[in-house]
Amino acid sequence: MQEREEGPLAFIEESDIAVTVNGNHYERRVPVRFLLSDFLRHELHLTGTHLGCEHGVCGCCTVLLNGEAVRSCLMFAVQVDGMVVTTIEGMAGTNNDLHPIQQAFQEKHGLQCGFCTPGFIMSVHAMLHENPYPSDEEIRHGLSGNICRCTGYQNIVEAVKLAAERLRGQQKEVG
């Protein structure tokens, strides 16, 4: 850790980090108190990760950290030094086509204002990775760490079912 020697922010400690986000490698010097969410949004300009509560409840800021869903508002950027982060911007496929989860949200009208949506998609990604065959109840429980104020969740549940089915199909094709 280093301290700035001069300038108006001299009193704030900073640290160097190296992180891979959506396949791109970044090296940055950041204030140690800089939240991961702010780092992604305002340093890397990946503004698809949203902030709904900044106390780890709403799930809008969910990203994947080494493949696992985490709340980027509850982490500091310095904590992800050397790690791999995936955000909503990294979900689309090679031809920039929508990921099957994104596609299912569109087809089942699983979003309205779209603010919570990236967080849901990241959580669903992690959920279906862990459990490709979720029951309706498991889906609802799996989604319960993300809050949506618009949809009443029903169409999100439908979207997850559709996405799960399609992802299983893809797995079979690959396998």
């Binding site: 709904g52 009208h109 949506t117 104020r149």
Partner: protein
């Protein structure tokens, strides 16, 4: 046959960018050289400000500006009263920063602008405010008490407004009625909680002398007008944009929140862009709230269960200020009669100040309270007379041939509360079918044998939607054939980019994907009001329709001239304009648009092809003949309704209550909804789902808890519980369609509906489930602990 777009469940046009994280919400916009603001908010519900010392904050490196009330000059003026009313005799609105006194926890006291939000918040900690606490009003009961402390020293009795409205002759009906019941019914505070908090980004361009603000708001045009007046700028030099807005539900239709003045002020003063983004804690204590009312209701009915008269006196908590006038209690009074033939009705309300966050409409806006009261009445009549609950409602319904039905009260828009159309029995029948109503009694009895408590409840409502004054729209076909649409309303999740495109596509025979809709940018459309009161699809939708019709007629005229045919023989479909029965005589819509714009320098593929076609040759006289009016295929139209249109619905649910814990589980939920003609069923059903979820939250989980110091003690998502996917049931939605005769589309509003009947339905279902305990629910919300408490006190325990 051309494709019908109106009424089709097409996927939403706005989805792909939102799904990719490419939406543009206010905080997604970072401008070069931008600074960040943070607000110091009062920690006291009522106190005198003795001293504010900002010197340490000003001295902090990275801080550019610290302002308190005394720095504001002529800006230190109370916000405008948005909707004055003769009954609102003591209106009070808020200063951008509190001057000598604070009136609620969260009221703005100082603003800091710094290099980053982090430093701005550091600086807030360095501001020293010396308060002298004053006695506090934390509830309606305290506000109404004799010798209550005063929220505003110059408002006697804390009374902001008092209004009496009477229809018929309730006094004589009560004097002779066979049955009279009276009870107290209470609804506590709840709030909208959009997932995106509020936010303002302001940029002052000194070269153009132009102020641009991006605000997470439902009403950018009124804000543009207001900011122009405040900063003495021409209106066209103020641009207010509501970019993607992450939910509003009413709380973002407000003028002004202090930050909407302070942020632009700081930007102008510093000559640098300034951004303020509300955090969730701030939102809990500074974004407007709603719901709190206390009703003393008395009602008379006959032996057949016909409701004869209602006398409802209620207190309405407006918080510390009345920015939105008395809209909410007026709506409550007007909504209470609901779908029933109530001919003798006395309504009296008193609006009281409390030391809490100000109140303005939140989805439902006074209606859930009214429906709760009226549906409690219907259930009670059934209980008293031992009649079927559905039957009592049927006996009291206004019949389909009785429209228009005038309730007799003046509505929130100053017009009549006059129902334009409806078929309430059809809604109830559908809900009964969806819930297998006739089989429920047996199912309930069977469950009780196993010690399980099932209950069925339902609730009917009528909802005033689609109020004026007006909205407008511009529709223009561009040279490539795509259609540009702009309107003054905003979008915060309703899918306007799709449903508005469908309205235009229907008229112009193009794919909705080729209709590009802009909402909420004051520079794109000058006139308008905003998206609130379930009015955007009805009012702006109608304006868009009228403009599209005008463009279609002009396209037919221009094409008729080119083909030397009659306009009556010209048709529009699949992006083409052609002569009926002669499809080879055809142009694309873009080519017609180019033809309608006599230019020397037309370019692009459409222009080139058009030239090769050598259609009708040069005409004598002006290139743009007077009968053509303006160049191009373009029209602007406005729509102003004669009065609001009245949507309706019936919801029903089967629940199970665990009497040991007070926990309630929904086993079935059915929502039947009538919003007239439906533009996009998928979108409307989504609106209903979301409304029901908010309604369930407001009925069971969500209650803003203020302690005796009027401190909000559950100001976080850990403590104020928004329902998650685990709590919200599957919702079966069905439609009844009684078109509105008031507007050209036959539509009514749909946005708020879902939330309105849920508290009433919930109470009805709990009563039914817990009838062995003799429970009668008279309060909302009813969270598990409170329900458990009621059970402990119940007579049947």
């Amino acid at each position: 046959m051309a494709t019908r777009w109106f009424g089709a469940s097409i996927p939403r046009i706005e989805d792909p960018r939102l799904l990719r994280g490419k939406g543009t919400f206010v905080d997604d916009i970072d401008l070069p050289d931008m600074l960040h603001a943070a607000l110091l908010r009062s920690t006291h519900a009522r106190a005198r400000i003795l001293k504010i010392d900002t010197s340490a904050a000003r001295a902090l490196p990275g801080v550019h500006l610290v302002l308190t009330a005394s720095d504001l000059g002529e800006l230190l003026d109370p916000s405008p009263l948005l909707v004055p009313h003769h009954a609102l005799t003591q209106p009070r609105t808020q200063l951008p920063l509190a001057l000598n006194e604070v009136h609620y926890v969260g009221e703005t006291v100082a603003i800091v602008v710094a290099d980053s939000r982090y430093i701005a918040e550091d600086a807030l900690d360095l501001i020293d405010v010396e308060y002298e606490s004053l006695p506090v009003v934390h509830s309606l009961e305290v506000a109404a008490a004799k010798d209550a402390p005063l929220v505003h020293a110059d408002v006697p009795g804390n009374v902001a407004a008092h209004l009496v409205q009477v229809v018929g002759d309730p006094d004589s009906v009560f004097a002779s009625a066979p049955h009279v019941v009276s009870e107290t019914i209470v609804m506590d505070r709840g709030t909208a909680m959009p997932m995106e908090c509020r936010g303002v980004l302001a940029r002052w361009d000194a070269h153009e002398e132009m102020l641009t603000c991006w605000i997470s708001t439902q009403g950018p045009i009124p804000i543009r007008n207001g900011l122009a007046a405040i900063f003495h700028l021409p209106e066209h030099k103020v641009r207010v944009i509501a970019p993607d807005v992450g939910g509003g539900f009413g709380t973002k239709i407000m003028m002004f929140y202090p930050e909407e003045i302070l942020t632009p002020f700081a930007a102008i003063r510093l000559g640098r862009p300034v951004k303020w983004i509300e955090d969730r804690r701030e939102h809990f204590i500074s974004a407007n709230q709603e719901r709190s009312q206390l009703h003393e209701v008395e009602y008379a009915f006959d032996d057949q269960g016909i409701l004869l008269a209602v006398r409802d006196k209620f207190l309405h908590d407006t918080g510390a200020y009345t920015p939105y006038g008395i809209i909410v209690p007026i709506i409550t009074a007007c909504t209470l009669p609901g779908p029933y033939r109530l001919k003798n009705y006395y309504s009296e309300f008193t609006v009281l100040y409390t030391n809490k966050v100000p109140v303005s409409p939140y989805r439902g806006a006074g209606r859930p309270h009214a429906v709760f009261v009226m549906e409690r009445i219907m259930d009670r009549i059934a209980q008293e007379l031992n009649l079927d609950r559905a039957e009592v409602r049927s006996r009291n319904f206004i019949q389909p041939d009785e429209f228009p039905w005038d309730v007799g009260f003046v509505y929130q828009d100053g017009g009549p509360t006059k129902y334009d159309s409806g078929n309430y029995q059809a809604g109830l029948d559908k809900v009964k079918a969806l819930l297998d109503y006739n089989d429920f009694a047996a199912m309930q009895a069977e469950a009780r044998k196993q010690g399980r408590y099932l209950g069925l409840g339902f609730a009917c409502y009528v909802e005033g939607t689609g109020i004026g004054p007006y909205e407008g729209a511009q529709v223009r076909v561009e040279s490539d054939g795509r259609v540009y649409v702009s309107t003054g309303v905003t979008t915060q999740g309703q899918g306007h980019f799709t449903s508005f495109a469908q309205i235009v596509a229907e008229q112009l025979g193009v794919d909705p994907k080729d209709v590009l809709v802009t909402t909420g940018d004051s520079q794109a459309f000058y006139w308008g009001v905003g998206t609130y009161a379930s009015r955007a699809a009805t009012i702006a939708g109608s304006a868009i329709h009228l403009a599209a019709v005008k463009v279609r007629e002009k396209a037919r005229q221009v094409a008729a001239d080119l083909f030397e045919a009659s306009p009556d023989d010209i048709e529009l479909a699949d992006g083409k304009v052609f002569v009926k029965d002669a499809p080879h005589r055809s142009l694309t819509l873009g080519q017609v648009a180019i033809s309608a714009n006599p230019l020397r320098y037309a370019y692009g593929e459409n222009a080139r092809k058009l030239m090769l076609m050598k259609l009708a040759g040069p005409r004598p006289g002006p290139a743009l003949p007077p009968e053509r009016g303006a160049p191009g295929l373009e029209a602007a139209e406005f729509y102003s309704p004669p009065h609001g249109s009245f949507a309706s619905g019936v919801h029903g649910a089967i629940i199970e209550v665990d009497p040991k814990t007070g926990m309630v589980t929904f086993l079935k939920y059915a929502a039947v909804h009538d919003c007239g003609r439906v533009i996009n069923p998928t979108i409307v059903e989504g609106q209903v789902h979301g409304g029901v979820a908010q309604g369930i939250g407001g009925a069971f989980f969500e209650r803003l808890v203020y302690n005796e110091e009027a401190q909000l003690i559950n100001a976080s998502f850990m403590d104020y519980l928004l329902p998650t996917a685990a709590e919200i049931p599957h919702i079966e939605v069905a439609h009844v369609e009684t078109p509105s005769p008031l507007n050209p589309l036959g539509v009514k509003g749909a946005g708020e509906a879902g939330a309105i009947p849920v508290p009433a339905l919930f109470a009805s279902a709990i009563d039914d489930a817990l009838s062995p305990f003799g429970i009668r629910v008279r309060e909302m919300p009813l969270h598990p602990c409170r329900l458990h408490e009621l059970l402990q006190q119940s007579p049947g325990r």
